[in-house]
């Protein structure tokens, strides 16, 4: 399998604080990878680096064989890496439909995803299309954030903590969309604190702790104990 997106020895820091220590990660074409880890493990920093919000050395992140680590977020997005940011980050001045439309602002390649197909994926959004995005419930807002990222027909979809703050029944609903997103051809990186959902949809899992990847493998091959140790550190 050839790598669509990979990081090599990726380090990231905020001033004096180093958040990532030499992360190596590979995402294959058509693959879905889950990144799990506790709060502060560096998952969001990794996503911010991949999406171009944090800038790195050019070759620390390669996409489709090209170094993109030093590109700004808008150029990364135009190449086909779309992000569902942590906390959803809908635009309060835009209606639900406008929030979706703006997802295609920097990349409008045509493809499976359009307003119609996003409304098919999340029918409730069609009823609320004229409401301000922020007037929706948390789960519906998350649907808008996912639909917004899909509107650009990305090759890679980055999902940062999409279950954060949502009731389990809603999380289940949202994860029902994952197979359809995969079927559209997008590769996915799903970051979660909640291990269960992430493991269920992923082909491979990376576990992070304190800015490093401590464990990786296919979900079936990893024992609960190994994950527990990689997540919280080895039992003393």
């Amino acid at each position: 399998m050839t790598a669509l997106l990979e990081t090599r020895d990726l380090t990231a820091r905020y001033g004096d604080f180093q958040a990532l220590f030499g992360v190596d990660l590979t995402l294959g074409e058509g693959e879905t990878v889950a990144i799990i880890g506790a709060n502060g493990a560096g998952k969001t920093t990794l996503m911010r680096s991949l999406s171009g919000v944090l800038r790195n050395g050019p070759d620390s992140i390669r996409f489709d064989g090209r170094g993109i680590g030093d590109l700004p977020a808008d150029e990364v997005m135009a190449m086909g890496i779309a992000m569902v940011p942590e906390g959803r980050k809908l635009f309060p001045s835009l209606s639900v439909e406008e929030n979706l439309q703006i997802g295609a602002y920097g990349r409008n390649t045509g493809g499976y995803w359009s307003l119609d197909t996003v409304y098919d994926l999340f029918p409730v959004l069609k009823e609320r299309r004229s409401n301000p995005g922020t007037a929706l419930s948390g789960g519906q807002q998350q649907m808008v954030a996912i639909g917004r990222a899909l509107m650009s027909n990305p090759r890679v979809l980055l999902c940062d903590e999409i279950s954060l703050g949502l009731a389990p029944v809603i999380i289940k609903d949202i994860y029902k969309a994952v197979p359809k997103i995969r079927a559209s051809g997008a590769s996915m990186i799903v970051v979660e604190q909640d291990i269960g959902q992430a493991m269920a949809v992923a082909d491979r899992v990376y576990c992070m702790m304190e800015g490093r990847i401590t464990l990786s493998g296919s979900p079936d091959a990893l024992s609960r104990e190994a994950i527990h140790n990689a997540y919280f550190g080895a039992a003393a």
Binding site: S51, D74, M83, F91, S93, L94, I102, Y105, G106
Partner: protein, 287 residues
């Protein structure tokens, strides 16, 4: 009847203030930048139109249309090469830079055009009037107000009907998340300032045709514009028109009571609105 006439004249005068203010409102709404050189840029626009009229004999309206692309380019470049560098969490650096720009513009205009007051000649249009329901309405004030309406409606269409307008609003909400949508905030800001300069050119046209101007009058135009924006509520375009009208009506009513009161009455109206509605008449829901 005299009062009806006074108030209608005030409303029409408000159109001029709304034109002064619309560009300021647009830029503030998108990037929270108060451009202290806004008034001087209007005066610069007036000189540019005057220069074109004098050199080529064009009608002022055609000259303004010719000046628009230059003013757009000026605004675009100003934002891209200067103001984008000082935009950030701290609001002081852009204020200082635009204050400096204001001083530079005034002195450059003084150097280039002298302190003599000038006027853009509009011919018979400047004194023409029409009678409506027993009131004499000047054609020039009517055109000013009409232009203000067109500008505000046009900006609203741009903001709420186009893809660029969505990008303006999204960038105003959250530049980082906007960049995740493929929007380059620096480019959006440059376009916004360019568009603001097109409106500045329209304001400059009416400023120059309606009254004398010289290099020093920019800051006073800025004050009127600023008051109109604040009265209307920051970021609201219709509010800006309402703010301009309130100042215009206050000035003409003040002048009708005592001619010395004209300017003061406008400022007092501003202070009263600020006391009663500190966030302006139509504040945006989110700031």
């Amino acid at each position: 009847m005299i009062w009806v006439d006074t108030i209608i004249q005030g409303i029409l005068l408000g159109g001029l203030y709304a034109l002064f203010a619309a560009g300021l409102s647009l830029v503030f709404g998108i990037m929270r930048l108060v451009n202290l050189a806004h008034g001087d840029l209007i005066v610069l626009g007036a000189y540019l139109i005057l220069l074109l009229v004098t050199l080529t004999g064009l009608s002022p309206f055609v000259a303004a249309a010719v000046a628009m692309p230059f003013m757009f380019a000026l605004g675009f470049g100003l934002q891209k090469f200067m103001l984008n560098r000082v935009l950030g969490d701290d609001i002081l650096p852009p204020l200082l830079v635009t204050f400096g720009l204001s001083v530079v513009l005034q002195n450059a205009l003084l150097e280039g055009f002298s302190a003599d007051s000038q006027r853009i000649q509009a011919g018979p249009l400047s004194t023409a009037s029409i009678q409506v329901a027993g009131l004499n309405l000047g054609v020039m004030p009517l055109m000013t107000f009409g232009s203000a309406l067109v500008v505000i409606i046009g900006l609203n269409q741009l903001f709420y009907r186009t893809s660029l307008g969505r990008a303006f609003r999204a960038t105003s909400d959250d530049p980082t998340t906007a960049s995740l949508m493929g929007i380059k905030p620096a480019g959006i800001f440059a376009k916004a300032t360019g568009i603001a300069m097109i409106i500045v050119t329209i304001a400059a046209l009416y400023l120059g045709m309606r009254s004398n101007f010289d290099p020093s009058i920019g800051p006073a135009r800025l004050i009127y514009a600023f008051e109109a924006v604040i009265i209307g509520g920051l970021g609201s375009l219709w509010g800006t028109l309402a703010g301009g009208v309130i100042i215009g009506v206050a000035q003409t009513v003040g002048a009708a009571i005592n001619p010395e009161w004209q300017i003061l009455a406008g400022h007092l109206a501003f202070l009263i609105v600020l006391l009663v509605r500190p966030r302006g008449l139509f504040p945006r829901a989110v700031d």
